[in-house]
Amino acid sequence: MNRIEKVFQNLKESNEKAFVPYIMAGDGGLDTLAEKITFLENAGATAIEIGIPFSDPVADGPVIQQAGIRALQSGTTLREVLAKIREIRPIVHIPLIFMTYMNPIMAYGIGNFIADASKSGVDGLILPDLPAEEEGIIATIAERAGIEIVRLVTLTSPLERIQEIANKGKGFLYAVTVNGITGARKGFNEELGKHLQNVKNVSPIPVLAGFGISEPSHVEEMIQHCDGVIVGSKIIELFESGKLDEIETLIAASKPESIKL
């Protein structure tokens, strides 16, 4: 069983919700990556999404775009991130999931990338520009190497399609909560709770909500309807401004019991 499947099985047994933060590899220099990962693990993250910078991130809003630009300016490459992950993997226990666009992987060579990612202990991949129609070029090779493809479903995906997509995966399903790109939002569509519930009803795997989630109150609201949340832009902002305590508060919001204790 893949590390992702295991953590979700554990969460289910203890009736807990997931919190998956996103960070950009190389933002602040690649040397800060280990530090950030261990901080997030200690703060209670279920898994960590590690962004690999790409020059033209069409699914990302200004905060992640800027983080990507900083990472590229400090010379970050996919090869170096893989080497770094390999180095820190022994001291990290939670799943590490790469989020990037197809082109850096294609330039690396899909087969080579999967082989090296597997050696480094990468557990999953989120590829926002790879819909189900095109995933054949990487999904089979990845799954053979024990790397999960984490698939996205959105507000515009018909329920039948959501079901088909959900059935392909073993890890978790990424339910995008807005029509749009990444970045903090003030509020969400009223129908969202119902949508998440519908997604959950057809999905055999856990459903995590992501895009726009930025406040503890959002986290508390979302986990009423699904199995956890993914938070990106806000985590990047809080690391950038050094407000580590607010990151802890945000993660704690996914664990109502622990707050009460």
Binding site: Y101, N103, Y108, D129, L130, A132, E133, E134, T156, N179
Partner: protein, 401 residues
């Protein structure tokens, strides 16, 4: 092989190229677009409406003009110009914008978003939107806004909202990024009028089909004038739409050489050019697998060309396929060569071509002398140079010799 050319396949692939590499949020919109387009293609009323607009509003068909002075100057093949510069709004872009705007109206979408480089596609789209009463938002790189002031004002006059894009190189590539982000956010009521044969399926097919009027007319006009097919057709390549529109109707005519001309900028041996097919490698950008200018890590590189419309680090998937298959040939022309060709066409023929089109003219002038006098060469004169006179004037030091 080309005798049975039927690409793209049903998944939108041209060989390995093309496809639909887009965020899931856009999948429904592009699947619906494909379905509606296929219906519209077979719908006689839609086609009649489009044909009537192309005739009475755009001014088609455009002439196929025998350029006698240019032919004598080059001293070889007979040179014909396909006068897309005479279209309403001054370039071939209107063929596609009108087609897609009609399609959007048919799908009940009232809002349009588009990107623009030179501003020609933006002007054409703003025009089509004014005509069909659609709300229009155009993304344009700040660098291009600076280079193409007049076109920005034209778009605004036509009622469009022009949004400047500062990210990246602040040119066409970044305008496409921003237009895609806008589309993801407003997909429920907005159609994206992509300006070239790029992006996710069905755009490369649909834009090609709307632009094929260029090649279809040329084929017929040339047959009427010369009683045979041309030996060579030459067109410039930004994203690749005027060239694809010119090439497509000739693809099965294996005797016709198809030559696409990319922008070599300061030279293909420098890092300041836009020659994606000549110097790039395959990768994924803006929804499609195609040739790209990129570094070894898969980061997209900035393109450079004197002409804003060619300043793009990729080239449509069908051209990528035609290059690999050898059916079309791709060459490149520098900024200086294009400038020289522009001045020459002004003086010899009294036609001020767009800087983009001047790349095709420049290559044709190299090729024609190597061809026999009995042979014929058609240049796709994709647009007029009114928008470029300021750039040309600055480059000539403000005097114009």
């Amino acid at each position: 092989m080309t005798a049975t050319y039927t690409l793209p396949d049903e998944r939108g692939h041209f060989g390995d190229y093309g496809g639909r590499y887009v965020p899931e949020t856009l999948m429904q919109a592009i699947l619906e677009l494909e379905k509606e387009y296929k219906k519209a293609r077979e719908d006689e009323i839609f086609q009649a409406e489009l044909q009537a607009l192309l005739r009475d509003y755009v001014g088609r068909q455009t002439p196929l003009y025998y350029a006698d002075n240019l032919t004598k100057y080059a001293g070889g093949a007979k040179i014909y110009l396909k006068r897309e510069d005479l279209n309403h709004t001054g370039a071939h872009k209107i063929n596609n914008s009108l087609g897609q705007a009609l399609l959007a109206a048919r799908m009940g979408k009232k809002k349009i978003v588009a990107e623009t480089g030179a501003g020609q596609h933006g002007v054409a789209t703003a025009t089509a939107c004014a005509l069909l009463n659609l709300e229009c938002t155009i993304f344009m790189g700040e660098e291009d806004i600076r280079r193409q002031q007049l076109n920005v004002f034209r778009m605004e006059l036509l009622g469009a909202k022009v949004v400047g894009v500062k990210s990246g190189s602040a040119t066409l590539k970044d305008a496409v990024n921003e237009a895609l982000r806008y589309w993801v956010t407003n997909v429920e009521d907005t159609h994206y009028i992509l300006g070239s044969v790029m992006g996710p399926h069905p755009f490369p097919m649909l834009v090609r089909d709307f632009q094929s009027v260029i090649g279809n007319e040329t084929r017929q006009q040339y047959l009427e004038k010369e009683g045979k097919l041309p030996d060579t057709v030459v067109a410039c390549i930004g994203g690749g739409s005027n060239s694809m529109g010119m090439f497509y109707p000739f693809i099965k005519d294996e005797s016709v050489r198809l030559i696409g001309v990319e922008a070599a900028g300061l030279g293909t041996d420098t890092d300041k050019h836009a020659a994606s097919l000549t110097k790039g490698s395959p990768g994924v950008l803006h929804g499609a697998l195609m040739y790209l200018l990129q570094n070894e890590h898969g980061q997209i590189q900035e393109a450079h060309s004197i002409s804003a419309g060619l300043d793009y680090p990729g080239v449509g998937p069908e051209h990528s396929y035609l290059k690999d298959s050898g059916r079309a040939q791709y060459e490149s022309i520098t900024d200086d060569e294009a400038m020289e060709a522009l001045m020459l066409l002004c003086k010899l023929e009294g036609i001020i071509p767009a800087l983009e089109s001047s790349h095709a003219v420049a290559y044709a002038l190299k090729l024609a002398p190597q061809m026999k006098k009995s042979e014929g060469l058609v240049i796709c004169l994709s647009g007029r140079g009114d928008k470029d006179v300021e750039t040309v004037r600055t480059r000539l030091g403000g005097e114009g010799k």
